[in-house]
Structures are given as structure tokens and as C-alpha cells.
């Protein structure tokens, strides 16, 4: 990661546009993954949320990266519902707050802000690594941001795949006990998609 690269509001706008695109493309698969161990709505819920984020960013364009992420978070909380609404909403809101009012941020500032966001997600959801949740993709993904955006996307993708043999200990899948084993977690999967979208925005797409 170039130490001197700075990311402006436009970069974050590209990230959210890429996120909305990938959620649109993958909504059916996310819902399919949510079917055997959840309630078959993860894709449609995120689609509703990121579509709302697109129109919110268009109708009241934020001036700074921090404001953009906070508006994204607030919009997700107000439109997604379920557990993923508050969790993803908290991730973006807290990261946005952490960025403050700077017009441009460094890659290192962005990494540190996302780490604060992920920590807030862990606190809100009370989950730990290995519980078969979005944290299993977010934690390795954000850690790998220190290397590159591509590395972060790949680590998150690996983290999502690694949820297959896990037994769920949080959320609706936990009701299934051992029967949750053998399925990829939909939340970890969508987290990996969002970090993939970040790599796309940085021109490090796969």
C-alpha cells in the first residue's frame, strides 16, 4: 500500500457504488446461503439497504469520507432491519466517526477506522472469532488491509470459506446446533463482498 496515497470522498463513493453493484449481483446467492441456516432473506435485505444508500448519497452528497460513511451507516440502520442492519450500520457509522472531518484520508487512517468499526460490531453482536459470523471475514480482512486492499479482500474471502465447518454460536443459525455445520455463513460472505468492493474502488479488483 503506497504510504502517500490519499483517499478522497470520490474514492468512498466508488466503494459504495461497487458495494451496491456486488450486492445486486450476489443477492440471490446470499439469500440461498441464508436459507438452510437462517431465514432466507440476507440478500434481499442488503439489496434494500445498499439501494437506499445509493439514493441517500445521490440526494445529499456528503462532503467528506467520514460524513459519507456515517450517512451510509445511518441509512443501513434505517432500512435493512434484522441483525445485519444494526451490525453493518454500526461498522460504517463508527468508522465514519473515526475519520472525522478530514477531506482526504490515508490508507492507514482508513485501516484504523475500519478496525474501530469492526471492534464496535464485535461489541454489539457479542460474537468472537470462530462463532460463524461476519467477524470471521471482517477480522482477517481488516487485518490484511495493512498489506493491500487486494490482500484484504482475499483474506476476507478465505475467512468466509472457513466458516463452512464451524458450528454457529450467534444469531439464528445457532438454533440449529450441530446442524449449522457444513454451510457457509451468509454474513461472512457479504462481508467479504464488501471488502472485495473496496479493492475494486482502489483499482485492485480481482
Amino acid at each position: 500500500m503506497g504510504a502517500l496515497t490519499v483517499r478522497d470522498t470520490q474514492f468512498f463513493r466508488r466503494w459504495m457504488a461497487a458495494a451496491a453493484d456486488v450486492v445486486r449481483r450476489e443477492a440471490a446467492r446470499l439469500t440461498e446461503l441464508d436459507s438452510p441456516i437462517g431465514d432466507a432473506d440476507h440478500g434481499s435485505n442488503l439489496l434494500r439497504g445498499f439501494t437506499a444508500v445509493e439514493s441517500a448519497l445521490a440526494s445529499e452528497p456528503p462532503a467528506t469520507p467520514g460524513a459519507l460513511l456515517q450517512l451510509t451507516g445511518r441509512t443501513l440502520i434505517s432500512t435493512v432491519g434484522g441483525a445485519s442492519g444494526p451490525l453493518y450500520g454500526t461498522l460504517f457509522r463508527r468508522a465514519g466517526k473515526e475519520l472525522g472531518e478530514a477531506a482526504e484520508v490515508s490508507d492507514e487512517q482508513l485501516r484504523a477506522a475500519l478496525q474501530v468499526g469492526v471492534d464496535a460490531v464485535a461489541q454489539l453482536g457479542g460474537a468472537a472469532p470462530g462463532d460463524k459470523t461476519m467477524l470471521d471475514a471482517l477480522l482477517p480482512g481488516v487485518a490484511a488491509l495493512a498489506t493491500s486492499y487486494r490482500a484484504a479482500a482475499d483474506a476476507a474471502e478465505q475467512g468466509a470459506l472457513a466458516t463452512v465447518p464451524m458450528q454457529a454460536r450467534k444469531g439464528r443459525a445457532s438454533y440449529l446446533g450441530e446442524r449449522s455445520i457444513g454451510h457457509q455463513d451468509p454474513g461472512a460472505t457479504s462481508s467479504a463482498l464488501l471488502l472485495g468492493a473496496l479493492a475494486d474502488a482502489a483499482g485492485e479488483g480481482s
Partner: protein
């Protein structure tokens, strides 16, 4: 499916509710159903909400003697905090508001955020968590027990107490007591089909059933070969009675809900209820009141659940109090 499109099912249903029940204040756009006489009523407001797909829960229970307002989310998805805050504002009669929250990760988080926001708006908010389903082990390794049939008991009894003009702390304490005295167990004969997915949420072949299911189309704890109604009554009632023994004398009176999951005909449900009633009589359990029907459903799932609530005289009296809602009405 009898729908226009998966995206509009909830709004379409709310428009239908508004047309069928002009006595209710139905805000289709903001997704809040409320009594019209709540403001300045001097009564505690009772608010609940959750994903759609469990009808008549919750909106069908808005009215005299039960909920003051309800906020339906998308199908099987918790409503968002904005809706809950609007519902709290609509239900606030000057004496604060009680949130009745079914114990699901999303519902708990969204109601928690809403309680904070409503508090900032100057509305005193208490919350009661409903978690009556004995099929889920309550441990560090699960999200805790699910809220199912006992939600109806909590909403009816707390609603009656609020209607009597009792203060928020008393209404909240009663609601918690009802939850603590209630246990449920559910059985599915078929999975359900969410509008978003359009196909069954899990595969359940003919001739098999799932024991210990929830109300969101998730599979249960165990799959068995098909049984008779009598056998299903035995395997369902066992774990409920076992747990109920921990919270009071075996022969204390109970409220009984024999609940259909949505696609099981009342003919079958009453037959099943007959078996449950006989088993309870055999074990010396007095059924103070029974309710049979589709009240806490899971879309088009076939199956049933049993909820027992150990009820003292006060709870039975509040259960009998007049109620006038879309789905439950008596005594008025």
C-alpha cells in the same frame, strides 16, 4: 402465492388491514399500526413488533386491552429503529411505553437502539424480552431461547394491566412474570416459503416431521418419521412440562395455547388440542383457559406449537379481561 410482488407484500397487507379495520390507525408508508385513542390516554403504551410472516402477531393484536401499537418489519426481518420510535410516539399516552421484544438477535439490537432514541425524545421506555421456546438450549453457544407463543400471553396480560391504568413498572413486571411462567415447543410438518425466496426454506420429505422448530422457517433440532397427533402431543408436551415443573407445582392451573403454524387446518388443530388436553388431565394439570388457532404463525408452514403459562388468579383475571383487536376479541 397470493401476492402482487415479493417487494410489496408487507405494504399490501397493511393497506388491506387499513381497509378491513377502520378503527385502527394504519400508516402504510411508515409501517406502524396503532390505536387511535392512545395520545393523552394517561395509560402505559404497549408496543411490539417483529418480522412479518407471523400474522396475526403483532398488528392483529392492536386494540383495546392489548397492544397500543405495532411495527411490522419485512418478512422474518426485525423492523428498523425508526419504525419502533414512531410506534412508541404513537403509543405514548403520557405514562411511558413498554416494548415487548421477542428474543432474536436482530429484534434485540433494533429495539435497544430504538429505546435509546425514544428516551432522547422524552419517552420513558421499559423492555421485556420474550424467550419461551424450550427447543433451544439457553447457553453461551446459542443466541438464547426464541420468543414464540408466549408473546401472545405477554401482550394480552400486560395489555389488560395497561388498560386498567397500572403504571409502567407494574406493567413491565407483570409482562416479565408471564414470560418467566411460560414455555413452548413447536413441530413442523412442512417448511415454509418466503416471498423473497419463492421455494421452501428447507427440504422436508412427506412422511417426516421436524421437532423443535422456530417461527422463521429454520429447521428444528431433530427429524423424525411421521407420527399420529397423539404421539406428536406426547413428544411436544414432554419438554414443556419438564421445564414447567421447575417453576411451580405440577398441578397449578395453566393457560394453554395450541397454536397453528399457518397451514394446518383447524380440524386437525382441534384434534391435536384434544390429545394435549387429555394428556394434561392425565398428569393432573388444570387448564384454566385454552386458546386454539393460528396466532403466532410461520407463513405457510404446516405444524403446531404448544405454549403453557403457569397462571395464578391475577393472570387468569387479566387474561379474561375485555379485548378488542383484529384477531382476538372477547368480553366487550
Amino acid at each position: 402465492m397470493l401476492i402482487n410482488s415479493p417487494e410489496t407484500v408487507v405494504a399490501d397487507a397493511l393497506r388491506g388491514m387499513a381497509a378491513a379495520h377502520p378503527d385502527l390507525d394504519v400508516d402504510v408508508e411508515r409501517r406502524v399500526v396503532a390505536r387511535r385513542d392512545a395520545r393523552d390516554s394517561g395509560r402505559v403504551g404497549l408496543v411490539s413488533g417483529g418480522g412479518s410472516g407471523h400474522e396475526p402477531l403483532h398488528a392483529g393484536f392492536v386494540g383495546h386491552g392489548m397492544l397500543t401499537a405495532a411495527c411490522p418489519g419485512e418478512v422474518f426481518t426485525s423492523p428498523v429503529p425508526d419504525q419502533m420510535v414512531r410506534a412508541a410516539a404513537a403509543a405514548h399516552g403520557g405514562q411511558g411505553v413498554l416494548f415487548v421484544v421477542k428474543n432474536y438477535t436482530g429484534d434485540v439490537m433494533n429495539f435497544e437502539m430504538a429505546a435509546e432514541l425514544a428516551g432522547e425524545d422524552g419517552i420513558q421506555v421499559e423492555q421485556v424480552l420474550v424467550n419461551d421456546d424450550v427447543a433451544v438450549t439457553d447457553s453461551l453457544y446459542t443466541a438464547g431461547r426464541r420468543g414464540t407463543g408466549a408473546t401472545l400471553f405477554v401482550e394480552k396480560i400486560a395489555g389488560a394491566a395497561a388498560e386498567e391504568g397500572r403504571p409502567l413498572d407494574q406493567v413491565a413486571a407483570l409482562a416479565r412474570k408471564v414470560n418467566e411462567c411460560s414455555r413452548s415447543f413447536g413441530v413442523a410438518l412442512s417448511a415454509c416459503t418466503t416471498p423473497a425466496k419463492g421455494s421452501p426454506t428447507f427440504e422436508l420429505p412427506d412422511g417426516e416431521l421436524e421437532l423443535g422448530i422456530g417461527i422463521h422457517g429454520e429447521p428444528g433440532r431433530e427429524r423424525r418419521a411421521m407420527m399420529t397427533a397423539k404421539e406428536i402431543a406426547e413428544v411436544s408436551l414432554g419438554p414443556v412440562l419438564e421445564e414447567l415443573a421447575d417453576i411451580g407445582p405440577v398441578d397449578a392451573p395453566v393457560l394453554l395455547l395450541v397454536n397453528g403454524m399457518g397451514a394446518t387446518p383447524l380440524l386437525e388443530l382441534y384434534g391435536f388440542h384434544g390429545e394435549v388436553a387429555r394428556l394434561l388431565a392425565d398428569r393432573g394439570v388444570t387448564v384454566a383457559r385454552a386458546l386454539v388457532g393460528n396466532y403466532v404463525t410461520s407463513l405457510d408452514m404446516a405444524g403446531c406449537s404448544i405454549t403453557l403459562c403457569r397462571a395464578d388468579e391475577e393472570l387468569v383475571r387479566l387474561w379474561d379481561a375485555p379485548v378488542q383487536t383484529a384477531a382476538l376479541r372477547w368480553g366487550r
